[in-house]
Symmetry: C2
Subunit: 239 residues, 2 copies
């Protein structure tokens, strides 16, 4: 084991509150009016001033990387209890221009209507962008975003994580549109309905849509127990 390296770690940590060389960057997905969106921040200071990027920050000495991600999200959006999953580490030597910094990518799914966003201290602006209309991003954030999208596409077919993007009550068609948008495919209504209902994940409510100018659709919520067991055992959705 490399003694020199270990020693320099110890020294470094004595005069710093953060683990220097490792950051977190997080892709936050939302779903609004049939389109998938991501949350970007405009940096207020530093070499990337004015540019857009994924929200992120440094990992503190005494927190796990997962907790660091939760903390960063809480500071940014004001809420806990978010669906959050680590993507992987990104570590090209050139990815950050000033020095060698490895970043750990995360992606989160949130029910958009639940939260009001407040720009954090390090960001001058926070804004939702449609996934297909994101501007140029700093560093390697385009790659991280790309990886997040791929992961979401994969994940959504293995576990019903899509629910984390929808409001509590939703119609089958909304759910189908979510899948269509994420997977970039077109689906057949009757078939989707049949398949999804068969797996008993949805609980029909005693409610219907309101304020629509056509026949109101049944509202559903998902059954947390079945959701949990399906998520754990790694289900397989084919659409």
């Amino acid at each position: 084991m490399n003694k020199k390296a270990i020693d320099s770690v110890s020294i470094k940590e004595m005069d710093s509150d953060v683990v220097d060389a490792v950051t977190i960057d997080c892709t936050i997905f939302g779903f609004h009016e049939g389109t998938l969106e991501v949350l970007l921040v405009q940096h207020a200071e530093g070499i990337s001033k004015g540019k857009w990027g994924l929200p992120g920050g440094w990992i503190k000495k005494n927190e796990s990387i997962d907790n660091a991600a939760y903390r960063l999200l809480r500071d940014l959006t004001g809420i806990d209890n978010i669906y959050l999953e680590q993507l992987r580490a990104f570590g090209s030597p050139e990815r950050f221009p000033l020095s060698r910094v490895i970043t750990i990518g995360y992606y989160a799914l949130i029910k958009k209507e639940d939260y009001r966003l407040t720009p954090g201290f390090t960001a001058s602006a926070v804004k939702w962008y449609k996934v297909k209309e994101v501007p140029e991003l700093i560093y390697d954030h385009a790659e991280i975003l790309e990886t997040s999208i791929k992961r979401l596409k994969r994940r959504v077919r293995q576990a019903p994580v899509g629910f984390n993007l929808l409001p509590e009550k939703f119609t089958l068609l909304q759910l189908m549109h979510l899948y269509e948008e994420i997977l970039e495919v077109e689906m057949d209504k009757p078939n989707f309905r049949r398949k999804f209902l068969r797996m008993k994940l949805l609980v029909p409510l005693n409610e219907k849509q309101t304020d629509v100018s056509h026949r109101a659709a049944q509202l559903y919520k998902f059954d947390p127990k079945i959701y949990k067991s399906l998520t754990e055992r790694g289900f397989n959705f084919e659409f």
Copy 2:
């Protein structure tokens, strides 16, 4: 952005050859006589002297983390051109007793018979263990191994990565046993054969098994082109 942190990164890197606080640990899988095995090293020095762990090491300043993983594997096993994939970062604050070290987990698949192993400079011994018989591991390596196994189980159903564990030429039954071992299930020979052949991934060779005391089975290799396209598009094997 945290100025203090960036400054301390720059300073640190001037007097050190490695990115201090980040290591790599790699689960190397092999397949031998129907059982899945992992390669462990016994540490020769340091606080974990004598104990078994996953092979790993520090990331150098000018290499990407993927390249660091390839380098470590090359040093240990003497070969490039290995199937290697990042798992994720592990970063509990207590995972490493001396200081805060984040590690990035990888897992690799190798064709066992292709390589002779040589213990590297930091390890006193290198040994294959059956996955079900691994001894107690240092730090959080048990968790990393656990994650690797889960990932392998998942991955093997989405892409034909299993081939990386088999010799060039193999029989359908060997292939089936590989799946049975990894997924911990029993399968039906005729059904497995039919399913696998249907996807046109296997090329029958003009050869049969030799040295077996029963009817010799057809040998196959896999078609690299179809393998590639299947791996990229994320196929879905259900067995």
